[in-house]
């Protein structure tokens, strides 16, 4: 079936199978930041924004996003907030193997985009869907707190 969506700001048409997932369709379209992990909605490495909300693209049917806005990390590479978040994660040493990082960036971006107040609890809550098996969560949380502090100062 043919569907139309806004992918990273660009009107896009996809031919998708009825049983295909958004994850499969995104990777077929070249959005390789979207990682295939558990495929059961547990690990969060395939997290993307669907109409601004973080979702596990492995448990969203591709056909469902007809008429929706889908944002992957590729679509946010020039975004000031995303650049600040990426820089802070690197500076805090929050990136090791990196497999979970695109998903974590999307989850943290969705939270930070809401604006203050953002504290450690809200950050940890936002990351409940992102598993990391090497860095852990302390440094990503610290990085997000640092960005949140800057947002608070400038808001």
């Amino acid at each position: 079936m043919n569907i139309s969506l806004n992918l990273n700001g660009t009107a896009t048409d996809w031919e998708v199978a009825p049983g295909q997932t958004l994850l499969q369709a995104l990777r077929a379209s070249g959005a390789f930041s979207v990682k295939l992990g558990c495929e059961t909605g547990d690990c969060g490495s395939c997290t993307v924004l669907l109409d601004g909300q973080p979702v596990n693209s492995c448990v969203v049917p591709a056909a469902r996003v007809n008429g929706s806005r889908v944002t992957t990390l590729e679509g946010l590479l020039g975004d000031d907030l995303m650049i600040r978040l990426q820089t802070e994660l690197v500076e805090q040493g929050a990136v090791q193997c990196g497999y979970c990082i695109p998903g974590m960036l999307i989850s943290l971006y969705a939270l930070l985009k809401q604006g203050p107040p953002i504290d450690e609890e809200t950050i940890r809550h936002a990351l409940t869907g992102n598993l990391c098996r090497c860095t852990g969560y302390v440094k990503p949380v610290e990085a997000a707190r640092a960005v949140a502090a800057v947002l608070e100062e400038t808001s």
Binding site: M1, A17, P18, G19, Q20, T21, Q24, T40, G41, D42, G44, T47, L50, Q53, P54, V55, N56, C58, V59, V60, P61, A63, R64, N66, S107, H125, A126, L127, T128, G129
Partner: protein
Amino acid sequence: MWKLQEYRIATNPAEAVALMRKGPGKGAYIAGGTDMLLEHPACDFVVDINRAGIGDVARTPGGDLFLGAAATLQELVGNEFVTGFAGGAVSMAASQCGNRPVRSTATVGGNLCNALPSADMAPVLLALDATCYIADEDYQESLPLTDFFVGPRLTVLEDRLLVGVALPGECAGWRCASHKLTRTAEDISLVQVAVALGVDDGRIQEARIALGAVAPVPMRASLAETMLTGQEIAAITPDVMGDVAAIAAGECDPLDDHRASAEYRRDMVSVLTRRLVTRILSDDGDNSQDGAA
């Protein structure tokens, strides 16, 4: 990949039912899909109800809280009508389901229609006297949520569509709290208990105790409720509380499985019932769920 022949998108409830009945082959409704994309149920087509106009959350003119079946759990977490109803107990229960990205698409209707004994939203909605609204092609009917669940993974719906649930306005001022006991925060519950009490003039006027994951369907502990109803708060001694908790534990019918033994589940019904009733009556204004039992 999930072997589906067709993905149909409904724009209203009657159309959804018609699309379901049109055939050929076997169909299923899909909303958030967070369970269906794990389980890939054998069917030829699905009917997507996300755009069927049943995703709203609203207070009706009569004061009821209406939760559209396609409302996401994240919507329930943050919606001010929901956070302002019965101390925000429904928001709190929704916030304990799955993880953040799952809650973005998982819906309250999907949680109920999947009809697991451990359905996360069932106990708190049962405790707040929820009514289900069900659409057919040319009529709608309503029935109490207690009558909605028929067995594990089985509801009264057949090929009809759940359009939403309504909580009566009288429950808005009830004190309500629930607890989801799990091994890890994201796991399916071992035991759930939700308690709602309508308190007036120092007396429990209305009592609801709902249990999840301890019987073939989410259930009410009606004998324990009867014991509490009409009681003066001052007269509820630890002994009375112990009796209420023991009766609730006696009403459930848990299974042994790899998550927990039946005996443990029954004990936890007793512990959690006592704890929740005690906490609600002490009314410290904190409706948050406490830690592990």
